[in-house]
């Protein structure tokens, strides 16, 4: 089973989220990915390695170039739990809104 916790850790960093956002628009080389960031290519490579280890990004070599692409099913699985939690809370809080409106000490707003 894929390690979802590693996935959350990988997504906790803004640079890695930016890299993922770029890859969401299509495959890119490490050099292309490094371009927008004020950091060295090895530093960007290390971020990509974290994303790769978390199963979020796939890499393939073509000659001397390293091509990266997003692993869409990995991101989907990672997001599913939070999406599920959001849905459950949204539903529950809608019910809570209705309950609060009936409570005397709610002092509900108009």
């Amino acid at each position: 089973m894929r390690d979802l916790d590693a996935g959350f850790g990988a997504l906790a960093d803004p640079t890695r989220r930016a890299i993922l956002a770029r890859l969401a628009t299509g495959e890119a080389t490490v050099m292309e990915l490094a371009k927008p960031f004020a950091m060295s290519q090895p530093a960007v490579s290390r971020h990509i390695k974290v994303l790769e280890d978390a199963g979020l990004v796939l890499r393939r070599a073509e000659g001397t170039k390293r091509h990266c692409r997003i692993a869409p099913e990995a991101v989907d699985e990672l997001d599913r739990w939070l999406v599920g939690l959001r849905e459950a809370l949204t539903r529950n809080y809608a019910r809570l809104d209705a309950l609060l409106a009936t409570m005397d000490d709610g002092k509900g707003e108009k």
């Binding site: 849905e87 209705a98 709610g106 707003e109």
Partner: protein
């Protein structure tokens, strides 16, 4: 006005905020009094909570049992760690699906916000296995029910 926000914080936490159009006392009571909790902490449509125990004092017990009306169900147990009436609670909880999930540590704050309340809930992200188990426990059914309700609202122009 009452939009829900949900963010991960570091590797291990998730922070939820939501505004309610009621005073902190009412929102606090709805989170800690068993007979009120049974009315809204339900998850997917058709689920009910026939058993709810909540003793909001340090060391007090929490137990919620949910059933789906078709022989399915699960339960949660927990303990309160800190209780500051109408402003803050800290508790731990774990689900039994039927195996126990790791303890989830939850801090809930109720802050006055104009005439309403801003709720902030900071909880531990369950580990990968616990998340998988929770997903298998009908969250997706709930999402489907929720989408259907949204479609009905869209159809009747409530959101337009």
């Amino acid at each position: 006005m009452s939009r829900l926000t949900l963010k991960t914080e570091g590797d291990t936490h998730v922070v939820v905020t939501r505004r309610f159009a009621a005073a902190p006392m009412a929102v606090f009571r709805a989170h800690t009094e068993a007979e009120l909790m049974q009315k809204w902490m339900l998850g997917p449509d058709a689920w009910t909570m026939p058993v709810c125990i909540s003793e909001p004092r340090p060391g007090g017990r929490i137990r919620c049992e949910w059933v789906d009306g078709n022989g399915g169900g699960f339960y949660m147990t927990g303990e309160y760690i800190a209780v500051e009436p109408h402003s803050r609670t800290v508790h731990v909880e774990r689900m039994f699906l039927p195996e126990a999930t790791p303890d989830n540590h939850v801090e809930t704050q109720f802050k006055a916000d104009g005439q309403g309340t801003l709720l902030t809930m900071r909880m531990t992200l369950p580990d990968a296995d616990a998340r998988a188990a929770m997903l298998a426990t009908g969250m997706e059914d709930g999402m489907e029910a929720s989408y259907e309700r949204m479609e009905q609202m869209l159809a009747t122009g409530v959101l337009s």
